[in-house]
Symmetry: C2
Subunit: 118 residues, 2 copies
Amino acid sequence: MPNYNRSSDGTIESAFVALSDPTRRAVIQALSGGPASVSELAGPFAMALPSFTQHLGVLESAGLIVSKKKGRTRICALNPQALQNAEAWLAAHRRQWEERFDRMQAHLENVTKDNSNE
Amino acid sequence: MPNYNRSSDGTIESAFVALSDPTRRAVIQALSGGPASVSELAGPFAMALPSFTQHLGVLESAGLIVSKKKGRTRICALNPQALQNAEAWLAAHRRQWEERFDRMQAHLENVTKDNSNE
């Protein structure tokens, strides 16, 4: 999407801060169905437009969404790469834990086997 | 881990709020290498212990870590299931977006083929 505006710092820090708010998660949920204009996105929220666009700004700074002007309308879209980066952070720590757990389990099985062979 | 204390609401809301703080992410990173006591975890942080244990409380309420008392020591451990829940939330929205993108691409290819056959 070369025409999309990407003014993002794209860090894990900013991604998780952005994801910690229910309005911003609802925007991600809405955009997972496809791109939408700011007013389409704002529709379901009982929120003043400036507050809502501030939420969009946090999502865009985090790199989770991208946006472009189309005439007088701003169209927003999901940036799947940023979601994948956050997934990768979580998966890396979960896998490290699980691998350690598997190694411990294998070690215990070996100890049990050795003891029963004695 | 039946002896671990699980006083968690385990929501996506509380997981992402917990993950939005750098100290709490550092705790997750440390625990991915294996269980640790509160004082072992607190060691690297220039932070008063009550503030640090508050961070552990947020992680435990979110279900991301579990803890148990062992004598006078509290041992913390990662709860991989909660990390996986957050991963699943992100993956579901990313995949929905990607599937929509693939369908759109396939549709455009069909339109191009039809036009070149006319």
